[in-house]
């Protein structure tokens, strides 16, 4: 079934086809959300929200862009709004961290080291300027072509190329001190920049 046929069928009240659409796009939407919020539960909440918004907004979709582009755009906006809300209420974020249990595994030390690595990369990505961060997430997490990223971000392909290059340069600058270094001082420094 062609994309426009699927949309017409949904608009005619065929909910089974919308479920098919959700199943087709849930993983890409989830991956982009994950790249922006770095938390599985939050990414799932955003994914659910994206499909609810898409269902309500489907009558306004006029096939000017691909359906996937339209869904990615909703995902980016929903995730950024989610992060804005979360920034305003940091109490719940810090509270949820209190309930994470320490590992009893023998390889815990290795995992703590890996976790520190990942924490440092996460903070570095989060401290990027918003446009660079979006371009980085859409190209690295979803491996989307520059043309589609440009359409999602409503900018030119050249601008996307520049944003990705600058994001890489900035990440290198932020992560260079962390290569061959394990510790909390760098993550604290990055945290203050984020």
């Amino acid at each position: 079934m062609q994309e426009f046929e699927l949309i017409d069928s949904i608009l005619n009240g065929n909910q089974k086809d919308f479920e098919r659409l959700v199943q087709k796009y849930e993983s890409p939407v989830f991956r982009v959300a994950m790249g922006l919020v770095h938390n599985k539960e939050d990414a799932e909440e955003i994914t659910q929200d994206v499909f609810l918004k898409a269902y309500r907004g489907l009558p306004g979709f006029h096939h000017k862009a691909q359906l996937s582009t339209w869904l990615y755009r909703i995902t980016v906006n929903t995730a950024l709004n989610f992060l804005r809300r979360k920034k305003k209420n940091p109490f719940w974020t810090s509270l949820s961290g209190l309930f994470q249990l320490p590992s009893k595994d023998s390889s815990a030390e290795l995992r703590i080291s890996e976790k520190t690595d990942h924490e440092v990369v996460k903070l570095a990505i989060d401290s990027l300027p918003q446009k660079q961060r979006l371009a980085f997430v859409l190209t690295r997490y979803e491996e989307l072509p520059q043309k589609q990223v440009a359409s999602i971000m409503r900018t030119s392909e050249g601008a996307v190329e520049q944003l990705v290059l600058r994001a890489r340069k900035n990440l290198r600058k932020k992560l260079e001190p962390a290569v061959g270094y394990t510790g909390g001082r760098l993550s604290k420094k990055l945290n203050s920049q984020a």
Binding site: I10, L11, G13, Q15, F18, E19, V22, Q23, E26, S27, F30, R31, M34, G35, H38, K40, A43, E44, T47, Q48, F51, L52, Y55, R56, G57, L58, P59, G60, L110, S113, E114, D117, H118, V120, V121, K122, I125, R140, Y141, L171, R172, L175, E176, A178, V179, G180, Y181, T182
Partner: protein
């Protein structure tokens, strides 16, 4: 743990996040939310707009009605009580110990 390079660090992090997949019941959850909220695509927002417009008009209508129902209390002529204070006790009376 010694890190190899900047690219390895990023690749490892991105691969770990990309490897996660959403809850297998996510589509079911989405469909359940849609069924509980509306009957068809786009209808929820239309009804919410109608409901908001109706409540706004109702609030304005009630305000106008409340304004027209108000009638000010009838004014009464002011009454003035004239009290002559020339017979009032002098305050010095209480300051004298002999009079306590």
């Amino acid at each position: 743990m010694k890190r190899n390079s900047f690219d390895d660090m990023i690749d490892s992090f991105v691969d770990q996040e990309r490897s996660l997949s959403p809850n297998p019941f996510l589509a079911t959850r989405v469909m359940a939310s849609i069924n509980s909220q509306s009957e068809g695509p786009g209808r929820y927002s239309t009804w919410s707009v109608v409901a908001i417009a109706f409540s706004f008009l109702a609030a304005v209508g009630l305000g106008i009605k409340a304004g027209t129902l108000y009638s000010p209390a009838p004014r009464e002529a002011a009454t003035v009580v004239l009290v002559s204070d020339d017979q009032a006790e002098h305050f010095i009376f209480y300051q004298q110990n002999s009079n306590e």
